[in-house]
Amino acid sequence: MAAPNAQDLRQLYRHLYLTRALEERLERLVDQGHIAGDLCRCLGQEAIAVGSAWALEPGDWLAPSIRDLGALLVRGLEPREMLLQYMARTGSPCAGKDDANHFTDRERGLLGPIGPLGTQLCVLNGVALAFKARGERQVCMTYQGDGETRTGASHEGLAFAAALRLPMVVVIESNQWAFSTRSHREAAIDEWTDVARGYGVPAIQADGNDVIAVFEAAREAVARARSGLGLTLIVAETYRMLGHSQHDPQAYVPPEELEEWRARDPIDRFESYLLDRHETADGLARIRSVIDSRLDQAVDQALAEPLPEPETALGHVYAAPEVEPAPWTRGAPVGYPDVATSIVPTRMEPPRSL
């Protein structure tokens, strides 16, 4: 895959901005009570997902972590789908049965993560195994938080991919924090590239706030995977600019660190990079306003979508037949909140999930 041309650069910019602008809409929808679930933002980390996914080709598979909205957009996800997903409406990728980016799409080669960390790499290994068995040249790319690398599943997944020389690229998002815990304290290591040593695979260090640097690292790693050389780790240094999720004001984060990293904002940096070249401030402003108005439209459309029919909760546990509800367990559509005489408040407070 060639170096990005002017056209590509503009696309990269679009996706970086789209990622941030979409998450801002999602945050507003949470505040307005339209999203019952939780939201984990990737503010300040957009370049990692966008730059890495940009190195993939059609037919490749990608498994995002919770902070890789940008990668999904690069791989063809419609903002509308993401809005419906979070708002749990009919026609959302999970038909309301799961939230966030927990959906899998064989056509677009997207594998959704699940709650327990470290697991999606193990499953993506199977996709890579399939490519290998069929002699296809497709590759797989996935992401792990720095804290996530401490899970047993992450280790088994990396060791398995390394031992079987699977066409796999794993991007470690070194954003300095695992929820409220200093990742370096958690991991007792300073050089994240050292993690790769334990698996006998190469690692590439990349500035996670420089979309071009991430893309270059990913391009190299993808090329290795495609040519049968197996797993490469990419360690992308960055910083989590907001709390772990909507429920975390991150009081534990030193303001000066945020200051320091705000100066390295990946979108600001890429803007000046573009302005130093062929782009104009007006040009970029036009790109942003197009995206903004499209997103506002998408939000209005999504809000108009209905919630799924209660009975659809029964579907697709097995290929066939549908589950039959046992007597009296068909749960009336009204739940706790609407039971007026209930000992619980009639309005749901937002869930405190992570």
């Binding site: 679930g37 049965k97 695992a178 909760a313 749960g331 405190r352």
Partner: protein
């Protein structure tokens, strides 16, 4: 007396046990600096220091393993699972190490594994599960599931003092919704293995635990008002050991039994209760033992789907009426 939420009750039991017993310590993810995802251990790090309030890497197996080893050394560890769903990666450590070690070696592992369970919080399939049945067939484990602030406090204290591994399931839906006046002077201690008659009655025995207790109570009130029948609501509190005596006494008196739990139906805990009641109270039964549970699916995220998945008050009323008119 002091109004105490279910969450504060858990927090107080932990705090007081750590105050009075040097050997009690807590470990888990983000329980120190942050005070826990639900803020149950907020302020603990400051009060008890990093040796007794241990922030760990994201590694549930290592957390439970360390709790076992520390228990061997005479400590009383309380391990937090950020959500009880994440007990799954520690399954091997719990089932094969913690549960079997006393039997195999004579050296016990008195530890507590606690975490938020249950649905209704719009938290999706991985932050809403009830996991008791995964562990029900594992000798060596104890399991408790408090529904009231008093029991939350008294059972956690008992669990910490227990010489065997105890899984403590706290229902996240109750954290801030349940309040109760609790005495500040006396020590609240609820023995593991004793059920509690939440509402007396002679027409039907309703057996439940955890959050559904309140739907059961509501259903019982409704049936009392509208049908004039008195449902005896029994809150199990402890799942293992199971207080079968209390259940049998009640069922032999009411001749009817309804079991309600929030976990899915097939393979759920109601099975064991039914089997034991069938063995001990068969001759006294005037109607089949029935159950109201979640449907046999994962816990869906979208509110209408989750409400449909979970057992609801109306379902209990319907089931109770069916049994009463049997």
């Amino acid at each position: 007396m002091k109004e105490t939420t279910y969450l504060e009750a858990i927090r107080e039991a932990l705090w007081e046990e750590m105050k009075t017993d040097e050997s009690v310590f807590i470990l888990g993810e983000d329980i120190g600096t942050y005070g826990g995802a639900f803020k149950i251990t907020e302020g603990f790090l400051k009060e008890f220091g990093p040796d007794r309030v241990i922030d760990t890497p994201i590694s549930e197996a290592a957390i439970v393993g360390a709790a076992i080893g520390a228990a061997h050394m005479g400590f009383k560890p309380v391990a937090e699972m950020q959500f009880i769903d994440f007990i799954a990666p520690a399954f091997d450590m719990i089932v094969n190490f913690a549960a079997k070690v006393r039997y195999r070696t004579g050296v016990g592992a008195g530890l507590v594994i606690r975490g938020p369970c249950g649905g209704g919080a719009r938290a999706g399939p991985f932050h809403s599960q009830n996991v008791e049945s995964y562990f029900a067939n594992v000798p060596g484990l104890k399991m408790v599931a408090p529904a009231t602030a008093r029991d939350a406090k008294g059972l956690l204290r008992a669990a910490i003092r227990d010489p065997d591994p105890v899984l403590y399931f706290e229902h996240k839906f109750l954290y801030r919704r349940i309040k109760e006046e609790l005495p500040t002077d006396e020590e609240i201690l609820v023995p593991i293995g004793e059920a509690r008659t939440h509402r007396p009655g002679n027409d039907l025995t309703l057996i439940t635990y955890g959050a559904p207790l309140y739907k059961a109570e509501e259903a019982a009130e409704r049936v009392a008002e509208e049908d004039g029948a008195q449902i005896e609501v029994i809150d199990l509190r402890s799942l293992r050991p199971l207080d079968i005596e209390t259940l049998v006494e009640s069922v032999r008196r009411t001749h009817r039994a309804l079991i309600v739990h929030e976990a899915p139906r097939f393979g759920g805990f109601a099975g064991e209760i039914t089997a034991q009641l069938c063995e001990e109270a068969f001759e006294w039964l005037d109607a089949p033992i029935r159950r109201v549970t979640a449907i046999d699916t994962p816990v869906p995220y979208s509110p209408p789907l989750e409400d449909y998945h979970l057992p609801q008050m109306e379902d209990i009323v319907t089931a109770a009426r069916w049994l009463l008119s049997y």
